[in-house]
Amino acid sequence: MDTPLLTTDNLVKHFGGLIAVNGVTLIIEKGGMVGLIGPNGSGKTTLFNILTGVYKPDSGKVIFNGERIDGLQPHQIYHRGLVRTFQIPRILQKMTVLDNLLISVKNPGEGFLPALFKRRNWLKFEKDIRDRALEILGFLGLEEHCYTPAIELSGGQMKLLEIARALMSQPSMILLDEPTAGVNPVLANDIYMKLREIKRKIGVTFFIVEHRIELLMEHVDKVHVMHQGKIIAEGKPADVINNEDVIKVYLGSI
């Protein structure tokens, strides 16, 4: 068995007196599609923020691909192959949809001097990634919008754009923070089908926060349940859904 892609060891994060994440220990295998559920305020997004370096954990370790990444800056974590999307889409409003995608790639024209003096170099690269970006946009049904300013997209399209941007960077793991929030049911299902297709194609690992339980359970192969900063249950969707603790704090009696 391979070493796990991401492990966290006893992560703790306080905000003043509030303990947002209280000793989270996770193991996520390579190539999986893993869900994370839990009531509002249970620390899911904070956990994501710690994993991607937005917050520094008060204690505990994060190991990604056999390397400690806690305490690194977000841009350093990106270069190790871990990206995320946001619950409320953070799109670059005054830029085109295509540019929104292109920024997520490490580009030889991003240095100051190469941008000026190695134009031929990055123009060629730009052409390649543009094709790839158009392919991804086509896959997610956004290709006719590629030159529209991103601010003109609808809410659901913004969600898709976030996913497209995360895919564009070809990471080994993507953290999705509610990829279907505010999206209509048909499109939501569609998004999951597409995520699965992507996973099959390029072997990326997904870690998904989601509130649409039925939908999530259909598609993931493992679920973690968080409550008050702790993982209270984990396992196969069918087991978790019948776990008494989970029903009590989150699912209610359906």
Partner: protein
């Protein structure tokens, strides 16, 4: 007011110099959203370095290169602590920097001539035996060459992937860092570049005026540069130059008008009031500035666009 043409040429030269500064602020504010309210400090550093060096009989090219270097070094040194601040605090810090630099210049008499400043700075291009007006035209050619070069440089930068990263930082810093951009590094670089360009403009200013004194570099200069960018259109380099022309023209014409008006209030105050009204009107009714930012790319390159227009005209002639 002897010769209206001279006044006009002088205004054109001024607009060119401030156009350069305004482009540099556009790079900082319009593209990267860095509220640099200390522009005048870097402009002043450029002017003073040129003045001091020309006193030591160095040629203009050396002076201006040194001005660029000094301004960018000061830019980097101030940006290292200042850029860790949020936008509004950065603005306050930079205003203070402008004032502090002015005070330093005012008090270090051994170097800068104190309140008297330095005079007798020779122009960059000396052609013997030409009239004052011709000399002015030579100056204008020089200034506009530099302006064009700065414009081209900034256009190249903002149209490259580097510029795209700058825009990403402007839109959302968290996204920029999530997708692997070292935001702090980019900010420092832009700050250094912006300061360097304003230092160059200061250098041109010093050799154009021929004298520098601390009173030329009041904080109000910063605000008129900001007006140029805001009126002309942030994130549009042509807009920034247009803004420089507008603000310069507006300030000059209101200065002229007040000589002919008999008003119950101090005409200087009237000028300030009119400026405020202008800014408020533009920000209120056209917040994106006169020339708005181009978000969609030109599908066709310029030569093809010209060519297609040409063919259109040709067809039109043939038909008629």
């Amino acid at each position: 007011m002897a010769d209206p043409l001279m006044y006009l040429l002088d205004a054109v030269a001024y607009a060119g110099i401030f156009g350069i500064v305004s482009i540099s602020l556009n790079l900082e504010y319009g593209y990267t959203n860095l509220a640099n309210f200390g522009k005048v400090a870097f402009f002043m550093v450029g002017a003073y370095v040129t003045a001091i060096m020309s006193g030591l009989k160095y040629p203009f090219i050396v002076n201006s290169l040194l001005a660029i270097l000094t301004a960018s070094v000061i830019g980097v040194l101030t940006s290292l602590p200042a850029l860790r601040l949020k936008e509004d605090f950065l603005a306050i810090t930079m205003i203070t920097l402008g004032e502090v630099m002015k005070l330093i210049v005012k008090n270090e008499e051994w170097l800068t001539g104190g309140v008297w400043g330095i005079s007798g700075i020779p122009p960059a291009v000396v052609i013997p035996g030409i009239t004052f007006r011709e000399r002015l035209i030579v100056q204008i050619v020089l200034i506009y060459t530099v302006l064009t070069l700065c414009y081209l440089l900034c256009e190249l930068i903002v149209k490259s992937p580097y510029g795209r990263v700058l825009k990403t930082i402007r839109e959302d810093e968290l996204i920029a860092s999530t997708y692997g951009k070292n935001v702090f590094k980019y900010k420092v670089q832009v700050f250094a570049l912006g300061s360097a360009i304003s230092g160059l403009a200061g250098s041109l200013f010093a050799q154009y005026i021929g004298t520098v004194s601390p009173y030329m570099f009041e904080p109000t200069v910063t605000f008129s540069i900001w007006m140029m960018v805001i009126l002309g259109g942030p994130a549009n380099n042509l807009g920034a130059i247009l803004g420089a022309f507008m603000v310069e023209g507006f300030q000059r014409s209101s200065r002229l008008i007040k000589d002919y008006l008999n008003l119950p209030l101090d005409p200087v105050n009237l000028q300030v009031m009119l400026t405020a009204i202008l800014v408020i009107t533009v920000v209120f009714y056209r917040p994106q500035g006169l020339l708005r930012e181009k978000i969609k790319p030109d599908r066709k390159p310029l030569c093809k666009m010209v060519k297609s227009k040409f063919i259109e005209v040709e067809n039109w002639i043939r038909r008629s």
